[in-house]
Symmetry: C2
Subunit: 287 residues, 2 copies
């Protein structure tokens, strides 16, 4: 039986890899991934004696096919993704491929890990979760995601832009903290500005926002701004954007979304309720 | 100078801990946490020779105060959280405490890691991100979070219920995948049912849903159901609930949310719909 592991590398450096991820990489015979991650793993000596397959960033389907093909050939294969394979990562392409090829379940279980059959060939599939960009970026900012949050990709390569706009409106209406993945690329230059315009319909211009580039990598850049500031922001492929909710605030260079929400506030007037102190979520006696 | 590390333990077992998390725990002189995590770390021999402070689950503010107090006394302190400290975890309580006490920034930077001063006492603060429940649970189900997702806590201890309902409506309107943290407790028994009722206003009754209890722990239970099935579900404190978007489907016991959004393509002909730019799809031939 072949084995296929989808391994989340976590953020930039190897410090974000989980113990389970490292264990799986140690066992793997074949390691497949985008070249940046392969280089990182090589640098740590984790790939010695293994077959290594480097792929370009856009060759997602190729990576999935190569990995599944190798596993069907009875190898123990690790397909590595940045962050978490489940969040805009390799999990969906691999499962969609399984479905397209007509694999059948070979065990009695549900979910993963699981064993799947194609004809007489069997493969065991496991997803090893990782720290996704939202959480990595948050750890560099303070506590921006301490309340209800949306993760939203601005890439319209596989999603119609009108649906992305609908989601931005929904995130605004729901006062969710918003984490924007893939905010911009060479081809997509106006999407972040348009997103900020939409959210400005729901939140004040001075709502805290942040741009984090290359989190946990050598060229990491952490930049605090405001929702209004996003209208002029220059970002690239490696940036993740965070927009706070109505309660988010900056304090001494920290992006704080308080844990306790506004039980203490009159949601209409924004004033503190009788007996409550504005701006302080952490009071004994009310949680 | 004291040091305070907020360390995410990731899901249930130690396999979810990151290499950076383990490194920080190895350096720590004092480890503070909810007793379940302390027990796990002890079981792995990671706490030998350290001072250990166990706290109950509801003593969140106490944990924050104890940790900050110890760090101000020049210790190297690790405060451990399940999952990621930034997601309904210890990051916000600690930062809010910093603010309440009037700490000032002692370095030129923004965000974290950072050094903070209270009078003449200095503390260095770092958040070590971890795999949050959403990602852990997703890895056990398939690829439910492969498209835009909301994380939403149903606990109304610190959030007014009307705001939670508003967010459920927004998540429904935006066709986000929804991950519900804290869906139920002994005291809160109707919130999950009510949430399903709200989402049923936006999605078909047979929309895939899942209940995952104690992910990556001994008593792990993975249960696939539907949005309608959530109306009758019995869940507890240790369960995370996932509700798919309009594109989510089940295949051979796997919860698949496709990466490519089918609205963009005519699924019969594989052609891009009017006004859409074809991208490389994940499924050859039908986008």
């Amino acid at each position: 039986m072949g084995e296929l592991y989808l391994v989340g590398m976590g953020p930039g450096n190897l410090g974000g890899l989980t113990l389970r991820g490292r264990e799986v990489l140690a066992m793997a015979e074949v390691v497949i991934g985008y070249s940046t991650y392969i280089r990182l793993l090589e640098g740590m000596g984790l790939l010695a004696g293994k077959e290594v397959v480097r792929k370009g960033m856009t060759e997602e389907l190729d990576r999935a096919e190569e990995a599944l093909g190798r596993a069907l050939g009875h190898s123990r294969v690790a397909l590595v993704s940045g962050g978490d394979p489940g969040v805009y990562g390799m999990a969906a392409p691999v499962l969609e491929l399984l479905e397209e090829r007509g694999f059948r379940r070979a065990d009695e279980g549900v979910g993963l890990p699981g064993r799947f059959l194609l004809g007489e060939k069997e493969v065991r599939l496991e997803v090893v979760p990782g720290v996704t960009a939202a959480n990595a970026v948050a750890s560099l900012l303070g506590s921006p995601l301490a309340h209800d949050t949306c993760l939203l990709s601005l890439s319209d390569l596989l999603t119609p832009w009108p649906l992305i706009e609908r989601r931005l409106h929904a995130a605004g209406m729901g006062d969710f903290v918003v984490v924007l993945y893939n905010p911009q690329s060479k081809r997509r230059t106006w999407q972040l500005r348009r997103s900020a315009e939409i959210l400005l319909g729901y939140r004040p211009p001075n709502t805290p926002a942040a741009l984090v580039k290359s989190a946990y990598r050598e060229r990491q850049e952490v930049h605090l701004t405001t929702l209004e500031g996003l209208l002029e922001a220059e970002v690239g492929m490696l940036t993740t954007v965070v927009v706070g909710n109505a309660q988010s605030r900056l304090y001494e260079g920290l992006f704080i979304t308080p844990r306790g929400y506004a039980l203490k506030y009159d949601l209409e007037t924004g004033e503190a309720l009788p007996g409550e102190v504005p701006g302080r979520a952490l009071r004994r006696g009310n949680g």
